[in-house]
C-alpha cells in the first residue's frame, strides 16, 4: 500500500476509474483529520504533518487517491511538488481562525494562478463548524472572494472533520465534478 513504489505508481497517469485529490490549506486547518475521517480511521492522535499522507478511498465508483500535504509556512513552497495530474483541489480552512483568513486567501489565490492546476475544480471546506466561533461558509466565501472565480467549477462546503458533518456532501460534489471532468 505504501512505500516508494506505490508513490511512483500514483505518479502515473491514473486510469479512468481513479482520481487524484489534492488536499491543501494552512497548518492546523484540519486536512489530516479530514483525510482520516474519509478513510474511516481514528482521529484522536493527529500531529502536524511534516511531509504528506496518502490514502485511497472508494466513493461513487471511483478510487479516490487523496494526498494530504503539510501546511506549515516553511513547507508551503513545496506544494508544487504535488500538482501533477490533480483532478480536484480541496482547500481546507479553519473557519474559526478569522485572524488567518487573509493569509489563507492569499495562499489560495496563488494556487489558482498555478498553470498545472488550471481549470481543476475547487472544493473549499469551511472546516471546524463544530466550534462556536466558526464563521459560516457564506461569510468565508465572501472574505476569500470565491465569487470572482470564473475559470473553474468551485464549491464551498461547511463541514466538521471532527464530527464528519458536511464531509460526505463535499465528497458528493467532488465525485459529480470528476465525472464532468473525466468524460
Amino acid at each position: 500500500m505504501e512505500g516508494l513504489l506505490s508513490i511512483l505508481r500514483r505518479l502515473k497517469q491514473p486510469p479512468e476509474c481513479e482520481v487524484r485529490l489534492l488536499l491543501l490549506g494552512l497548518d492546523n486547518a484540519g486536512k489530516t483529520t479530514l483525510l482520516k475521517q474519509l478513510a474511516a480511521e481514528d482521529i484522536s492522535h493527529i500531529t502536524p504533518t511534516q511531509g504528506f499522507n496518502i490514502k485511497s478511498v472508494q466513493s461513487s465508483g471511483f478510487k479516490l487517491n487523496v494526498w494530504d500535504i503539510g501546511g506549515q509556512r516553511k513547507i508551503r513552497p513545496y506544494w508544487r511538488n504535488y500538482f501533477e495530474n490533480t483532478d480536484v483541489l480541496i482547500y481546507v480552512i479553519d473557519s474559526s481562525d478569522r485572524k488567518r483568513f487573509e493569509e489563507t486567501s492569499l495562499e489560495l489565490a496563488e494556487l489558482l494562478e498555478e498553470e498545472k492546476l488550471a481549470a481543476v475544480p475547487l472544493l473549499v471546506f469551511a472546516n471546524k463548524q463544530d466550534l462556536m466561533t466558526a464563521s459560516p461558509a457564506s461569510e468565508l466565501a465572501e472574505s476569500l472572494n470565491l465569487h470572482t472565480i470564473r475559470d473553474r467549477m468551485w464549491q464551498v462546503q461547511a463541514c466538521s472533520a471532527l464530527t464528519a458533518e458536511g464531509v460526505q456532501d463535499g465528497m458528493t460534489w467532488v465525485c459529480r465534478n470528476i465525472k464532468f471532468r473525466k468524460r
Partner: protein, 413 residues
C-alpha cells in the same frame, strides 16, 4: 606480461592482479565467489592452471591471500548496531546511498535537495540545490566517489562534484519524472530511467545525451549496469525486463513472463544472471546470454517490492508487501529461509557485504537485521516515526543508514 602486485578484495572475495603489458599497467580480477573453508589448495591449483600470471614461484603468496580471504569470510559478524545520529531534511526522504568507503553518504528528499553527509561526524558537507521538484534517485560514482548523480521529478538529472557540491551538468531530455539512475562501473556514463517509458545514457564528461533506449511501453522503474559495464538491464511497469548492449545501444533481449509490474532488476556479480521482482508476487531469474527464464521464485503472498543478490551472487533476498522477506539459493532456486516479524510491508532489502546478514526497511517504521542462515531477527532498529523508504550498508558492513518519510535519516553504527 609481468605481474607487479596483488590486491585483496574482501567483498565479494577476489584477488586483483596488477601487471605490466607492453609498457602499460593493467589489472584483472580473479573472482573467488564460492570460497568454502576447506578448499585452499584446490583453489590455488585451479588459479595456477587458469591464470598464466600465477607461476609456481607465486603460488605460496596466492595461498596466503586465499587464506586471508577465507578468514575474513569466516569472521562472525557479532556487531550490534546502536543508533548514532539523526539528520533531517525539511520534507520526507526518498533514497539513501553510501560512497565506496562509507565515509560519506547522500540523501534525496521531497525538499528538492540532495544532501551529502560525513558518516562519522554526521556533519552536512553539502546541500545540492537546483532541482525544481522531488529528488528521487541518487548515486555516487563508486568506486571513485568523486561525483554524484541526482534524478528528479522535474524530469532532469544533474551531475555534481562530490567534493565541492558544484553542479557539472544538467541532463535535459526526459519527458517525465526520473525515478532511477546508475553510473556505469567506469564512471563514464550515467543511465537514467523515467516515467516517460525510456531510459537514457548520458556522457559524464561532456554532459551530452548518448542514447535513448526506447522499447518499453510503460514507466522504467529500475535499472542496473553489470559489473563489467557492457550491459544495462531495465525493469518496467509494462511487465517486461530488457537487456541492452551499452556499446551499440541496442536491445539484446526482452525478458517476458512476469504477469505484473517489475519493481526491481539486478545483475549478479559475474554478470551471468539477472533477478527481477514483480507485483505478480514472484521473482524470476534470467540467464543473460540466452535471455531465458531459469527459475521463478515463488512463495510470497503479495507483491514483491524488492529483490537483491548478495555480492557473491550465491543468494537472492526478496521483500514483499506480505510483510515477509525470503532468501533463495541462486543455484538451487530453493527458498532457504523466510523472515517474519515486520508488521507491515517491506519495501527495501539488502545483504550485508559479507552476505551473512540481511537488512529490511518497512512500513512499520522499523528496519530489521536478520541472520541469513537461521532467518532469525538479530536486531530491530527502532526510532523512526514514520515508514522507512530506504536503507543501506557501508562496505565494511558496520554502519547502516535508514531514510524515512519522517523527514530524517538515521545513522546506526
Amino acid at each position: 606480461m609481468k605481474l607487479k602486485r596483488f590486491f585483496l578484495r574482501y567483498y565479494p572475495p577476489g584477488i586483483i592482479l596488477e601487471y605490466e603489458q607492453s609498457g602499460y599497467l593493467r589489472t584483472k580480477s580473479i573472482d573467488l565467489l564460492d570460497l568454502t573453508p576447506e578448499c585452499v589448495s584446490l583453489v590455488v591449483s585451479e588459479i595456477k592452471q587458469s591464470e598464466p600470471l600465477i607461476t609456481e614461484s607465486r603460488a605460496e603468496q596466492v595461498k596466503e591471500l586465499v587464506v586471508r580471504l577465507q578468514q575474513k569470510r569466516n569472521q562472525k559478524e557479532r556487531h550490534r548496531f546502536c543508533f548514532c545520529k539523526l539528520k533531517a531534511h525539511i520534507l520526507p526522504l526518498t533514497n539513501v546511498a553510501f560512497d565506496k568507503s562509507g565515509a560519506r553518504f547522500i540523501t534525496g528528499s521531497y525538499d528538492r535537495t540532495c544532501r551529502v553527509w560525513d558518516t562519522a561526524s554526521g556533519r552536512e558537507l553539502h546541500t545540492l540545490e537546483g532541482h525544481r521538484n522531488v529528488v528521487y534517485a541518487i548515486a555516487f560514482n563508486n568506486p571513485y566517489g568523486d561525483k554524484i548523480a541526482t534524478g528528479s521529478f522535474d524530469k532532469t538529472c544533474k551531475l555534481w562534484c562530490a567534493e565541492t557540491g558544484k553542479c557539472f551538468h544538467t541532463f535535459h531530455g526526459h519527458r517525465a519524472e526520473i525515478v532511477c539512475l546508475a553510473f556505469n562501473p567506469q564512471s563514464t556514463l550515467v543511465a537514467t530511467g523515467s516515467m516517460d517509458a525510456t531510459a537514457k545514457l548520458w556522457d559524464v564528461e561532456s554532459g551530452e545525451e548518448v542514447a535513448t533506449l526506447s522499447g518499453h511501453t510503460a514507466e522504467v522503474l529500475s535499472l542496473c549496469f553489470n559489473t563489467v559495464g557492457n550491459h544495462l538491464v531495465t525493469g518496467s511497469f509494462d511487465y517486461t525486463v530488457a537487456i541492452w548492449d551499452v556499446a551499440s545501444k541496442r536491445r539484446v533481449h526482452t525478458l517476458t513472463g512476469h504477469m505484473g509490474e517489475i519493481s526491481n532488476v539486478q545483475f549478479n556479480w559475474d554478470c551471468s544472471l539477472i533477478v527481477s521482482g514483480s507485483s505478480d508476487k514472484t521473482c524470476k531469474l534470467w540467464e543473460v546470454v540466452s535471455g531465458k527464464c531459469v527459475a521463478t521464485l515463488v512463495g510470497h503472498t503479495e507483491e514483491v517490492l524488492d529483490a537483491s543478490f548478495d555480492l557473491s551472487g550465491q543468494l537472492i533476498a526478496t521483500a514483499s508487501a506480505d510483510g515477509t522477506a525470503k532468501v533463495f539459493s541462486a543455484t538451487t532456486h530453493e527458498c532457504l529461509v523466510t523472515m517474519k516479524g515486520h508488521a507491515g510491508e517491506i519495501s527495501k532489502i539488502c545483504f550485508s557485504p559479507q552476505g551473512s546478514r540481511v537488512l529490511t526497511a518497512s512500513f512499520d517504521k522499523t528496519a530489521r537485521l536478520w541472520d541469513v542462515q537461521s532467518g532469525e531477527c538479530l536486531q530491530v532498529l527502532e526510532g523512526h516515526t514514520d515508514e522507512i523508504f530506504s536503507c543501506a550498508f557501508n562496505y565494511e558492513g558496520d554502519t547502516i543508514i535508514t531514510g524515512s518519510k519522517d523527514n530524517t535519516c538515521r545513522i546506526w553504527c
